[in-house]
């Protein structure tokens, strides 16, 4: 069987299975030529997108061995796609490098993949050996002892250096076919002839040049792992494992005086799938019970498949969190309260969605909708601003020109419409308070009106271009009481009888309109 895809002006084989390889087929051959060799060749269309998807799933799955995994997509050199694993510091968890590799190969073969693996000091050497290495027994992983990769690479073809086909051909013409041939050559002519890529790749393979492999997902040092001898398929067992993992994570966080803001639970299933649950917290947390409660809602939705072999918890976002300290000041109660408020906000946001818990902050602004601002309760600044930085009491000018301090009680409505409601209003005099108005089809007779409180646009906020008159945005607010005692906050936008300035363009023709902006208690 072969996978075919259209390339280089014809349909060519992209990959072949072992049976086809034995029959003498190889990737890059045109389909016509392949059919000539094996008339009954079965073909499937290549699907690069799903290949990439599968590859990233495999990379995900490899996360059970090390957090540092990165998929390497199928490249043009057609040497097969791969997955990088940086197992530095992980091998002892599996009883040594040999055991880790054997376990990895056994498990991944069980999923139906044909793989080759190699372990070496440098990514370049591992890449080369995995694809071009010749071990005594095929499909056995090749493990290069520390420091001996130079020797191991010597016999491999130069193509193992991850070079382009053109460079490969050029080297071939010069008779340089093995990597070992390049070791003792002067570098300057090589660079002159083939560019820096070749020497760079050689140096990377030999460890003379660092080659960073970026992990698929950011790697956090705060990650704990639990492997089960037997796959578990029951949610209670997962919850028990979760408890043990969280406890271990907590110990590490306590040691480093940190708290986590985000925790990721990853379940590695028997069938090669991965199930994830992520929780976020409003403040640094390392309380096991709290985190367990947060995860509890998520566990039900996790798909355990045929069982879970390994589970890990990582804390990708951590913040400094001082140890709980007895505070002798009067703020003790306040601290205690914020400590208890955090878990509550977390639980509410967890179920109702992000941004569903808000604080109503006050801002120093004359524009009503700017004076009150809903900010997410998860925003830590809100805690820091306890009581201070509250907007100062605003003064307003009454009709007879007196400046009155606005009484804090009742001067502002209890409810404010995010979009002021358009109303029909009638006033006795053009710039006076309305005598009746219609809102939502109901006619309200005004018994008492207080105002106007004139609020002009904040010219310092968005500077108007010279010549533009913004007076039509000026609002005159009235506090209105109707016959039933219901109290509303109305405003008229725009002015009648604008003062005509000699050099200004005629004011906007917009007629003043009435709006209902809020409802008083």
């Amino acid at each position: 069987m072969a996978v075919v895809m259209a390339s280089h002006g014809g349909i060519r084989l992209a990959a072949v299975n072992p049976a086809a390889a034995t029959a003498g087929l190889e990737s890059g051959l045109t389909l016509a030529a392949a059919r000539a060799v094996v008339p009954g060749l079965e073909t499937v269309e290549a699907d690069p997108h799903r290949d990439a998807e599968t590859l990233s799933r495999v990379a995900d799955w490899c996360g059970r061995y090390t957090p540092w995994t990165a998929p390497e997509p199928l490249d043009t050199a057609a040497n097969g796609a791969g997955v990088w694993l940086d197992i530095t510091g992980c091998a002892h968890l599996f009883g040594g490098e040999e055991n880790l590799l054997a376990d990895l190969l056994r498990n991944i073969k069980r999923q139906g993949f044909h793989v080759r693996a190699a372990l070496a000091d440098t990514p370049g050497a591992a890449w080369a050996l995995a694809r071009f290495g010749q071990t005594a027994k095929p499909h056995e992983p090749e493990i290069v002892d520390p420091g001996s990769h130079r020797l191991a690479l010597r016999k491999l073809p130069v193509a193992a250096l991850r070079i382009t086909a053109a460079v490969n051909e050029g080297l071939d013409r010069l008779g340089l076919r093995r990597i070992g041939d390049l070791y003792d050559l002067p570098r300057a002519p090589l660079v002159a002839r083939f560019g820096e890529a070749l020497t760079q790749r050689l140096d990377q393979a030999l460890g003379r040049l660092a080659e960073p492999v970026s992990p698929r997902s950011p790697v956090t040092p705060y990650r704990v792992r639990l492997a089960f001898p037997e796959a578990i398929g029951h949610l209670d067992d997962v919850a028990a494992g979760l408890h043990r993992l969280l406890d271990r994570l907590r110990q590490r966080l306590v040691h480093d005086r940190l708290g986590l803001r985000r925790a990721e639970l990853t379940l590695y299933r028997v069938d090669g799938g991965v199930a994830r649950a992520v929780v976020g917290t409003s403040r640094p947390v390392r309380d096991v019970a709290h985190l367990e409660r947060l995860f509890a809602d998520r566990l039900d939705s996790l798909d355990l498949g045929f069982g879970v072999e390994v589970m890990t918890i990582a804390a990708p976002v951590v913040e400094v969190m001082a140890a709980a300290q007895a505070n002798l000041s009067h703020d003790l109660a306040k601290d205690e309260q914020t400590m208890q408020l955090g878990p509550l906000i977390d639980r509410l946001e967890m179920r109702l969605g992000r941004g569903s818990v808000v604080r109503l902050e006050s801002r120093a602004s004359y524009i009503p909708e700017r004076a009150g601002l809903a900010v997410s309760a998860l925003d830590n600044r809100a805690d820091l601003r306890h009581g201070e930085d509250v907007a100062p009491a605003l003064d307003h000018q009454t009709t007879d020109g007196r400046i009155m301090p606005t009484a804090p009680g009742g001067a502002r409505p209890l409810r404010l419409f995010p979009l002021p409601q358009v109303i029909e209003a009638m006033a006795e005099v053009p710039d006076g308070p309305p005598v009746m108005f219609r809102w939502r089809r109901l006619l309200h007779k005004v018994v008492y009106a207080e105002g106007p409180e004139r609020i002009a646009p904040e010219w310092w906020r968005d500077v108007a271009p010279p010549g533009e008159d913004r007076s039509h945005l000026t609002r005159d607010y009235y506090r209105i009481e109707d016959t039933d005692g219901r109290r509303f906050w109305l405003y008229r936008e725009g002015l009648y009888d604008l003062p005509t300035m000699p050099d200004a363009i005629p004011s906007s023709p917009r007629a003043p309109r009435w709006f209902l902006h809020g409802v008083f208690a």
Partner: protein, 309 residues
């Protein structure tokens, strides 16, 4: 001989132990009875010993001598923006948050939870911080929850009642089933903090497990009553209260069209006292009462004092 003495001793010890168990059970039953308000008669349960003081006259009517802390209270108002009902509810929350006697509010610095559906903001107006601050609910005191539907609002209320960080919770819902109200009542009882539910007037006859149900309407303010003061900057807030339902109250301790005023961070009784029929004595059999509209009136809007049943 010795063994006989020991047997007697053992029997004695058993008896004492049995007595202790019985005494413990009796105490528990007593506690349950008290919590269930079976006793009536202005008793006080252990944890929420001090009820929330409203005004002297209102406190005299309420069976606990004030608004019972660990209980569910309903506030209903005419449909629409519900400025008055929301204002009264905000006032109750503000009182609960600033009350120094409550152990749950951290020395008058308590936090309250106000839950509503997120589309309520578009329809009836968002909660406005500067306005709420007048009721003692400053930004550091109030957490607003914006949920998707009634169900989520009720869930958030229960969740809030389980937390020890809050000193009152309030939910705006369009519908409250009896089961939901019972759950809230029990949760509030267990924690000893008030749970308020703000509902529409149209449901003022719905069955619920709430301790009290208030109907709140706006009342003409002082400017209309005393025109001389018009133009003054002290804008007092005045409501007309109807206590539609009160568990443990006597039949004749009803409250109709009682006027209260919110001034200087407190509720005050105000004029109109003579108009209201108030009786505080003779608390006999505790029973619920409800106001039923007279025939020919719209059910939700009794314009005259209703009938007691």
């Amino acid at each position: 001989m010795a063994s006989e003495a020991m047997a007697i001793h053992k029997a004695e010890a058993d008896r004492v132990a049995k007595d202790q168990v019985l005494a413990g059970l009796r105490a528990r039953i007593e506690g349950i009875e008290k919590a269930g308000k079976l006793g009536g008669q202005g008793h006080q349960t252990g944890r929420n010993a001090s009820p929330l003081a409203l005004t002297p006259d209102l406190d005299a009517i309420l069976p606990d001598g004030g608004l019972t802390r660990g209980a569910l209270h309903e506030v209903v108002g005419p449909p629409g923006a519900q400025g008055a009902a929301a204002g009264f509810a905000a006032a109750l929350m503000g009182l609960a948050a600033s009350d120094q006697n409550n152990q749950n509010n951290q020395g008058g610095q308590g936090v309250v939870l106000w839950c509503r559906r997120h589309y309520d903001g578009q329809e009836n107006g968002e909660l406005y911080g500067p306005g709420l601050a007048a009721f003692g609910l400053g930004p550091e005191r109030l957490l607003e929850v914006r949920a998707g539907r009634d169900h989520d609002v009720l869930w958030a209320l229960e969740e809030g009642l389980q937390s020890t960080a809050l000193c009152a919770v309030l939910g705006e819902v369009s519908d409250l089933s009896f089961t939901a109200s019972r759950r809230l009542q029990l949760a509030a009882e267990a924690r000893g903090v008030p749970a308020l539910v703000l509902r529409h007037d149209s449901q003022s006859h719905a069955v619920s497990a709430a301790q009290t149900r208030w109907r709140v309407e706006s009342e003409k303010t002082r400017w209309q009553v005393e025109p001389a003061r018009s133009g003054a900057a002290d804008y007092d807030i005045r409501w007309k209260l109807n206590l539609l339902r009160c568990r443990g109250a006597t039949a004749d301790s009803q409250l109709e069209d009682w006027q209260v005023e919110w001034r200087d961070g407190h509720l005050h009784d105000c004029r109109g006292r003579q108009d209201s029929r108030i009786s505080t004595g003779n608390r006999t059999a505790p029973r619920d009462f409800a106001v039923v509209a007279k025939a020919g009136q719209r059910p939700g809007y009794p314009t005259e004092p209703g009938l007691a049943v």
